[in-house]
């Protein structure tokens, strides 16, 4: 078997292949639902309704999509330059730590100043977290995949240490949690009584900004050039190391904002279960969007919908909610194969 590049994919194929990928994923999830002994169509119906079936459901899905847009953008920007940032989880937590340090009473500023300050501080903390691995990569040739992955574990332990020590809420009844963000630092709710908050709008703005940088700036051009061919970029006079460092600062910064958004917009205070793997989910979001910043918005909402819907299905017919993680992982792999089939022809011989 070998791969043969296509000049362009015929229209019927462009339509069929993604549908095929979705069908494979749906068939797999149907199999798992059947395995759990639940009625398949009822389960899917519950999942769909739970994700987008009502105003409340849509609000929940968008709330869940917010951190995924940030982490998805972080992965998309880094992967464009072939900087394999798998550390968004750790960067997210460091962003949340920065917001907690500054936003729980240390600074007495009005909301118009404190809110942006927290976002910027979180971004700087996240950026600093990725600057280390990026420098190790460019200066010493240390593989950034392993360093960013391992840093995730270190950061979570570090947050645990802070929550039992310096950042522990004295009013927290002994729970390992930080003091709540002061009202001036909160990202306001977009509608009363709902959970969606201004962090969602910040996420949309970041997606737009990332798209402008990607499509309209020389930095975006450099990032893509370095990702496509670092050697050729070097010959063309692009400072590859410098570009990678900028990419890292952007990517880590946006991941750090995810932490601020969750702490100051949704949860109110920093705990150790702030993120159920948003950093890793962001990788899937970015790949499904083919690393396109605006596409990330759509795929983050899709992935969030799967998770929110699966919770509803789990409550309704008792299928373990881990099915959401399976669906998301499977859709990543089927989509990768689908995109490949559009670019290449498989020749059997």
């Amino acid at each position: 078997m070998r791969l043969e590049p296509r000049d362009h994919a015929p229209a019927w194929l462009s339509a069929c292949v993604p549908i095929g990928a979705v069908l494979v994923t749906v068939a797999l999830s149907a199999g798992l639902i059947a395995l759990a002994g639940a009625p398949i169509f009822r389960a899917f119906r519950l999942m769909f309704d739970g994700a987008v079936g009502s105003g409340f459901a849509i609000n929940e899905t968008l709330t869940r999509a917010t951190p995924l847009i940030f982490t998805g953008l972080a992965a998309a920007i880094a992967f464009r330059a072939r900087l394999w940032n798998i550390g968004a989880e750790g960067q997210l937590y460091m962003g949340a730590v920065a917001a907690t340090v500054l936003g729980t009473g240390a600074i007495d500023w009005p909301p118009t100043l404190l809110m942006p300050l927290l976002l910027i501080a979180g971004a700087l903390a996240g950026a600093a977290m990725l600057a280390g691995p990026a420098l190790l990569k460019t200066k010493l040739g240390v593989d950034e995949v392993v360093t960013t992955l391992l840093l995730n574990f270190i950061v979570v332990l570090f947050v645990g240490l802070l929550l039992e020590g310096p950042l522990k809420d004295p009013m927290g009844l002994g729970w390992p949690q930080a003091a709540p963000i002061v009202p001036e630092g909160e990202l306001v709710k977009l509608a009363t009584g709902k959970r969606l908050h201004a962090g969602f709008l910040v996420a949309l703005a970041m997606a737009l900004a990332a798209w402008v940088i990607d499509a309209r700036s020389t930095l975006g051009f450099r990032i893509r050039a370095v990702g496509l061919n670092a050697t050729a970029s070097r010959f063309a006079g692009i400072g590859v190391d410098r570009t990678l460092l900028w990419t890292a600062l952007l990517s880590g910064g946006i991941a750090g904002m995810a932490g601020v958004s969750e702490v100051a917009g949704l949860k109110g205070n920093l705990t150790l279960d702030l993120s159920p793997g948003f950093g890793y989910g962001g990788i899937v979001v970015a790949m499904l969007a083919r690393l396109h910043p605006l596409g990330v918005i759509a795929t983050a909402i899709f992935v969030a919908g799967v998770f929110v819907g699966a919770d509803a299905m789990s409550r309704g017919v008792g299928v373990p909610s881990y099915i959401a993680d399976v669906i998301v992982a499977a859709s990543l792999l089927t989509m990768l194969v689908a995109l490949l089939l559009l670019r290449y022809r498989l020749r059997w011989r």
Binding site: L3, L140, V142, D143, F153, Y322, A329, V337
Partner: protein, 318 residues
Amino acid sequence: MTALHDALEILIQTSLWIAAVRIATPLIFGTLGELVCERAGVLNLGIEGIMVLGALVGWLAVHQGSDLWTGVLLAALAGAAFGLLHGVLTVPLALSQHVAGIGITLLATSLSYFGYRLAFPQITTPPRILPFTPVAIPVLSEIPILGPAFFVQTPLTYLAFGAVTVVAWVLYRTPLGLAVRMVGENPEAAEAQGIDVVRVRLGAVAIGSALMAIGGAFLTMSAFDAFYFNMVNGRGWICIALVVFARWTPGRALFGALLFAAFDAYQLRLQQVIGGVVPYQIFLMLPYALSILALIVMSRRATHPRALMLPYVRGDRR
């Protein structure tokens, strides 16, 4: 002064070295498995998920009535199946090894957790199995300190030592090993010699992944007797760092895993001596920090297989 004395005294405790070899066992399997994949030119970031899967499959099989070795075999087969999936995605289909590997880890982990919840819907403490028990090797186990450490262990630890020997022998002393190394260094030349690059790479990834899964199974069937969420806890990623530390050779992989585990066992005991002064999280960070440090130290000297992470498309010019 007494703290320092206590800290040093730990080093001559036999229990430290027994624990070190026990902690090393899953790392030996994982590092060796990753090494086999990478020597053939395929980075396998599926390792973390494959270890979780092995931990679940082996334990669940025994819980359902299989004997222990059948459980190990089933874990290995499950690992090989996911390895083959990673292989198909990255070798003939030439997808990004990073992304496919992360996808495999996410898929294998989530399927394992789903399967666990399916088998035990409402349970908070998982049921236990009768795990492997230590077997003393006659004569050798009488050696002070080293005897109990290396020769009073469970059979899976001996299997790990055996696997290192077999992999080293196959890699350097057989035509098959030459083929594996060749497709990892120079697939074009291998092809010119009549070696089927795709087949050798697929085989190496499947075997390597089976080894990783046995490493995971060790956790639930030997080190502990039950399956817990997050029990692999980054061991797979540590193994990837250990492969670099080992400079892609099996002997150094064994040495690296043992050295690493000795540090880990030592810090666990040190916690009891100076744990009152230093927060326990600092100790728990050490293994991960140590892995990063190992990568930095070895960065100048480690040269990876030349075709690592480069997909081989027949007839493609590079």
